[in-house]
């Protein structure tokens, strides 16, 4: 029942993305940005890594900029079109609605990620690559993008218009993806073991790097899954709060 509700909600949101046409622009911008960063922000031609590290290392940054644009209208549009009350009055749980919306945004993020598969294919034909490692990295990047989608969706659930939703979730995503807590802790409090451990545990970039390094730590996978779970929960609370 719950799954059917989620799927219904997902289908509706997913179709809406394509009707708004903005998704095509985002797809293009993402693929072009990823290629530019890979080719020009690193020594890709002279130092082609077997795991396409030059491509994956920029993904959190790019995702932090693109994902808010995907999630900004998830809830704000409902307010704008006055459809939130109607939606919440349906015989469907808030959890199913929040999950469906999140999954729709995550699916679009997945389609974006797949857009770079052509690059993988072309490079793979020209130089030998570790394809298993790259496939795993795609999976981990998808997971990372999912966590940003969930956080971004939760933030946007608190906002009433699209621009506010975009800006606030952009700020949150950039802080999450770009702030290197462990580097700060190493710089300012290298002797405080607890702070060091805490900073490492919550460092989004560090956790992502742990995943794509080839030695994917289970704790890092759990980190992203937990972030998704917690953000979804906060999302549901936000909806309940608005409803009340």
């Amino acid at each position: 029942m719950f799954l059917r509700d989620v799927l219904t909600c997902w289908g509706k949101e997913f179709r809406l993305y394509f009707q708004s046409r903005i998704v095509y622009l985002l797809l293009f911008v993402y693929a072009a940005m990823a290629a530019v960063f890979t080719l020009y922000a690193s020594d890709f031609y002279n130092n082609t890594a077997v795991n396409l590290y030059q491509f994956f290392r920029f993904q959190p940054g790019i995702a932090a900029m693109i994902v808010p644009a995907l999630t900004m209208r998830l809830w704000a549009d409902e307010y704008r079109h006055n459809t939130l009350e109607v939606l919440l009055a349906q015989p469907i749980s808030y959890a199913a609605i929040a999950t469906g919306k999140f999954l729709a945004a995550w699916s679009i993020a997945g389609i974006m990620l797949v857009s770079s598969a052509g690059f993988w294919l072309i490079v793979g034909v020209m130089v030998p690559l570790d394809n298993g490692w790259i496939a795993a990295n795609y999976l981990f990047t998808f997971l990372m993008a999912g966590s940003l989608c969930a956080v971004s969706a939760a933030v946007s659930a608190f906002c009433y218009n699209v621009l506010a939703a975009f800006l606030s979730s952009l700020a949150v995503c950039i802080v999450l993806a770009a702030a290197r807590f462990s580097s700060w802790a190493e710089k300012f409090m290298p002797d405080n073991l607890l702070i060091m451990q805490l900073s490492k545990a919550f460092d989004f970039g560090q956790q992502y790097n742990d995943l794509i390094s080839g030695q994917a730590r289970f704790a890092a996978v759990a980190y992203f899954v937990l972030v998704i779970g917690a953000a979804l929960w906060v999302n549901i609370i936000a909806v309940e709060y608005k409803r009340s």
């Binding site: 797809l27 290629a35 130089v127 906002c159 009433y160 080839g214």
Partner: protein, 621 residues
Amino acid sequence: MSLRLGKNIKLVYMGVGIAVLTAALIFCLNLVVGGYWDVTADDRFGLDKDTVKWLEDNKYGVNIRFYVSKDLAQKDVALAGYADYVRRLLAEYQRRSNGQIKVSAVEVVPFTSSQTEAERAGVKEFAAPDNKKYVYLGLSFTDENGRTLAIPQLAPERRDELESDITRLLSVLTANRRPRLGILSPYFRAAEQKNPLRYAENLPFVDQLETLGYDVVSLSKTSPFVPEGIDAVLVFYPLNLEEEALYALDQYLMWGGKVMVMMDVLAEERFKEKEMFIGYNSGLQRLLKNAGVLYREDVLAGDNSNSRELMLSGHFIKYPFWLIVTNDGIAEHPVMKGTKKLFLNHSGFFEYTPQQNLRTTVLFSTGENSGALPAVKAINLTYDGLLKDYLLTDKRYPLALLIEGKFKSLFDRPIVSSAQILAEMPPFLSLPLKEGTLLLVGDSDMAAAALWDAKAGQKHDAFAAATLSDNMRFIESALDYLTQSGYATVARKPDEKPRLNMSDVFYRLAAGVYQPQKKAIADELAEIRQQITEAKERLAALALPSAKQIKNLEELQRTEADKENELRRIAYLTEERYQNYLSWFAVAVIGGLPLLWVLLVWGIYRIYERRVRRRAEEYVK
């Protein structure tokens, strides 16, 4: 957004509760869950079973300090990636060591105490491969007694050997004693200079052996005995060995000694030595014959299939005497553990007949498509000479033998009469006391750095050598076997896929377009240069050259200059085409592929939309 806390305090509490709970879970998981999933094709983060076994058996504490330059990523991204890999591998050592190995990282900042500490530990600054900025990236190992060994620089080219190096140093550090290796060679003249710990010739493999845990001493060619406390003797390129040395080796074997001999019919690395040209005489033939072995000191072994390429008389050919020994010719034996590819230059071969009380094992040999050539013909060999004189025999030639058992003595009484020397040396044995071991190798060039170190010729530390072949590994493994060193030897990681950059690929593509043209001009140029040399010789022979002859020479030189210009033009065109390829690739990846993808997604959605509309229309009808 407005929060009405009074009314929704329960929801706010719930939100905060979720955040705290998630944070606690993440923190605990990071502390408790140490497992990982190695997603690499070559299992690069896992440790070899021999390393794991060594770590489990080890009972001594070792502190490993990992010295890394601060902000390494800003100085060299690739090196920073390698440093990250080393860090992860060291963490695995610590995890598997039952608390005996402790790893700590030190960030090295120039002109601070961290730099002094790194230098004191033996870590050295080096130029990063990419941008030549000076960085620190090294390891030090300290045991419970404060004894320290170091890998002064961690070279990324040695990535496949990293685990092997670390495990080796750990086992050397925790070993009770270092095996003592005596080297007997015309290139080790130190003993006569009364300084037994120094050797005269610069042989990098000896440096490597010392780093890998051997105490190397030089043995005198004129001494009739091997001094006490020597665990094995390495006879390197024996040349006209004296009777005393023969006697010393004979008696050493009778007492159960271990001897490795690296002979050479045509020592390429010793070309400057005149002895090579007038025929080789090791002086060991009697000793070998006694063990049922014949080393042909005037014939070379060749292999048509497994050999390296060489330009001979203008023909680019597989030169049969630059041998590559691969798995096909390598026996399964502890000595050959981890050896997959050996390079030998102008090697001799062995013939043997089994002897009573002796076990003979062929360690490695040529492939099936092999032949032989008299050594004298190999000097100044031409392509036609090779075709004429090289005999294909379709048999495998043994290139290294291991003989173990009770050897017979060559001598029936001591050859020494001096009472003083007799008192110093062990008593004469005509019958063996213990089983001895004799390991024979048909080529000494294989120990030359040029055949095992891709960076040979550059001044670098032993741990920065880049593996070209397993020659050094074979020597190390053979000596470990002979001395029973007990050192851990770990097979290096499987060969990584050949490193190829996009840049290389595009350049090759661009160069390929002009290759036929370039080759034709290069051939013409070689011919013209030959003609110029001949013309110059003719002119030099004449007392008064004619004007026509001089004009002819000038004409040839003009043509040579034109051809050189054409070659430069081709180089320029190649570079231009290469740059074009890079631009096209960038345009395709940045613009073309995203556009194609967008069109594809749009097309799929349009098809889906049309189907839905058609269904809706049918429903309305």
